[in-house]
Subunit: 305 residues, 4 copies
């Protein structure tokens, strides 16, 4: 397939959408980003990659980090993880305290904020005050790239305004589903979210999930085949907040979005993909990014369905 | 792959589970079924099929009928259908009125009861008092089998005890999301649910969904490729009530279960599968059926993830 | 106190409010009522009464009937009643199914629709197909007036459009909190609601509740002192749907409103009051009626607080 | 009436209840209190008072402080207060985040935790870092007692374990219904709750609310007559969390309870009452205290209904 051509077509077709969508405003440090950006990267198993747009432009990965922290926690805890966090779609907006209250502080899944906070808390149980460094090292390793860092200004901005995340942490603590100090969990979580990566780097980082848990280039097995299957199914059913069904419907790939404007997706046995465009639709997912992926599976017929 | 051998292994491995699970008790006519039954059928594109157990034993398809009525409604209405019924996971038990009330009578998706009742109402708009006959004829056509009928005793039993479905209908009527007479919608819906089929017949009926909407044997196109993709994604995200995430996690295939004990599933571009075993797990899905499908994707590596 | 003068002052002061509020539109037979009506009646223990406006104009008592059916059920069942219906404020709009679902079909109190339907069901257990006649006879007795009847057109209009009430009945039936046939319970309930009375008649009917359960004129004891106390406290905490707190706040009397535009209230040991004005505020209570009662307790200092 | 005799009778009749109920365990500093205590005080307008039990034993007033902070806030803000906090019963357990989320961070009423936190925040707007001192001075003034202080150990214990209150604060901050620093609001609130008073002191402090806002002994007007009416109606409809309806039903007086085991109540135009007994019923109200008040209104016929 001529991926270069397909990417060029997509780039052309998304142009009329630049005036729709809105950059996330609730994280002050993200508000001033140039809204009219687009990048898309494809990473194949043989090392070949295809790109369009500013594919080396780094942006805040935000909730995409949830895939990486969940991967690490699943590797460390195995099925025990499901005592503290579920794996069902939430069917409610991404910050909802309601479901959490009715379910006694056990979040529905690790891809909503509450679930990712629990995952972070579990990582702190193991790694203590080296937790963030371990997470960053893991992301550097799957990306084969030692230069990935986090943006201190974004992390600090999130900490100062992240009242809903503090509400979630306090509530789960009252249900005894958070073990560590609330401030420590929050700071670690905000650092993960503030890691900066480009679509080039993200598509490389996701490659092992497209290949049953083993990086096809370095041949390193990061997780088992069975665990990779579970992470991918979770991305499909829960990867896009309240629009997960819609994303499965339109794009038909396991994927995860972040409010920074990035989306990652994988096609099992074939490739990893990443897109970036900071303007969001009403569900908090990159508007142009979602459209670009929809065009990609339509043009290539590579939906998993 | 040696499907005969795989089915035999599965048959053996599910034996210890016969004492777990419970036959659905809320439909009186289903209560007295022999609980210790198992059947599994695989249908390939070239007409070959593989079976184990009582694969010609007919049972009540119940909610599996929601796949067929949704298919027909999508064929008739296209995207207009989404004005009346959504396509997001519900994240709540299958009869929940709560979400429906907060969302003004628009059901989350067509695979929960409320959504299937709306779908039935929309079919009645088009087919009037021939609706059930049209649905049955459609199922006969995709199954290539004129002998499929419904069980009057089960339908009448459901009508006499289906208070929650009547509650849903009345509530949606108050929100003007039901156009026709409540009793007529209910009776038509209960007839669909009471259709009797075997795993042999169900796997044949589902074949067009594994092949982008076109029956690979008769070459008839029942729906478009794009619509087939959408139905399959919906089965994956919403096909098993409050355990949809768990099914995607463990089995990794688009599928739909019914409280009669049946499950259907498809592997895109390859096959349709059906299992039957009447004892249900706590989420209302066939306990042995779910396990059999999990064993099948594990043994064959044919999960879509 | 010069009640005649006070009523005249109130009549004058409510004039500017005739253009606010809206007549209830969801019961077709009530829609065409002249909106600009007002009446107010005061009934003292010595038989004296004071009136203003069209105090002999009959109107649909609607939810005011809930006070009478609850009184009768409390008389028949005593504390056993609380197995089927609670006595706490609902804190939610008057038709809400949500709370009912979370509380397994036991309504919060007898003054929301669900609770009054359960009360009616319990009366049918005792009085069988004479239930409505018994309720009507009870109202005639406490009113000392054999001429009170119900409006067939209103009852039939409610039955044809009362989908939410049918939803509530079906849902509670599924939780086994309704024993009788749904249609019979609904028809009996709609008849109660459709009883026509004037403010003159209603203030007379409520007199026993102002006097510890015994009619001060006929000396008949309809309920015990303790039961009267309970009914009055319920009217205060739950008598005005989602605005019960506001009514207690502003008026400070036990009272009950109906969407027909009537309100009844009592001042313990002193009097019964009734007002009528068909235009409703956003909470479904008579806008001018509520204001008139607020003016009355302000002018007389007769709030219970 | 012979109040001495009535108090003695009550004291005798509550004896068999000492083994029911449970001391609040979620505030560590309260856990070790002697559970078998009882005190009751009556304060009349002429300065006469009647007591039974350890009526000079001080205990943590906890949520009773909400009456005092609301009184002060109503005095300062008048009706503007209702922009930030409602006056309807909550119909949900006292810590519920659910209703708060559906209602955009505006608490139902000032007597649930969320509402009292908002009230505290509003007081801080006016009194800055002197807020707690001003509240304490106000309580000392209405009590005519300069010796009232708070218990530092209890306040600090609450701050260290009050995760749910921090969750509420963070959530309301995210809805912009908290203006000040979360830690400051929390510390001020926990200090109010940790004020120690005896039934003797509490019944004296409540006297102005029984007399339309003016202390009948010192003749000082603390709030207007209209405001006193509103506070009393709020105590009746919302004073006992999820058992407010039950308290109105059984006791029939405006009152407010605290998890420390105290309850205050007033009889308009006549007296203020306070009871203490630390074992709580399932709704978090003093079990013996509630019973004692029920016996009191039954014996004296002084229910407001």
């Amino acid at each position: 397939m001529n991926y270069d051509l397909i990417l060029k077509e997509i780039h052309k077709e998304i142009q009329p959408l630049y005036n729709e969508g809105k950059v996330a405003s609730y994280i002050p440090a993200l508000k001033n980003i140039n809204p009219k950006q687009f990048a898309m990267s494809i990473q194949l198993f043989d090392g070949t990659s295809f790109h369009i747009g500013n594919y080396n432009q780094q942006f805040s990965i935000q909730s995409i980090s949830k895939v990486f922290t969940f991967t690490l926690a699943l590797h460390l805890y195995g099925k025990d993880l499901y005592k503290n966090v579920g794996h069902e779609p939430s069917g409610d907006p991404f910050n909802s305290l309601v479901q959490l209250e009715y379910e006694n502080g056990i979040p529905r899944n690790p891809f909503i904020n509450a679930g990712a906070l629990v995952t972070t808390d579990l990582l702190i149980n193991k790694y203590k005050d080296e937790t963030f460094e371990k997470v960053l090292a893991f992301i550097q390793e799957i990306s084969n790239n030692k230069d990935i860092v986090y943006d201190k200004e974004v992390a600090s901005s999130e900490e100062q305004t992240g009242y809903m995340n503090f509400a979630l942490l306090n509530m789960m603590k009252s249900y005894k589903n958070i073990s560590n100090d609330i401030k420590e969990v929050a700071q670690t979580y905000f650092k993960h979210c503030s890691i900066s990566m480009s679509t080039n780097e993200l598509s490389r980082a996701m490659l092992f999930l497209a290949n049953h848990g083993t990086d096809p280039l370095s041949k390193k097995e990061f997780i088992t085949q069975s665990q990779a299957k579970r992470i991918n199914s979770l991305m499909l059913t829960c990867g896009h907040y309240d629009a997960s069904g819609d994303f499965a419907f339109k794009v038909g790939l396991p994927g995860k979005s972040g409010v920074g404007g990035g989306i990652v997706a994988i096609i099992p046995n074939l490739m990893a993909i990443s897109v970036y465009s900071p303007q969001l639709n009403k569900n908090g997912n990159s508007l142009i990014g979602t459209k670009a992926l929809e065009l990609f599976t339509t043009k290539t017929g590579l939906s998993i369905f």
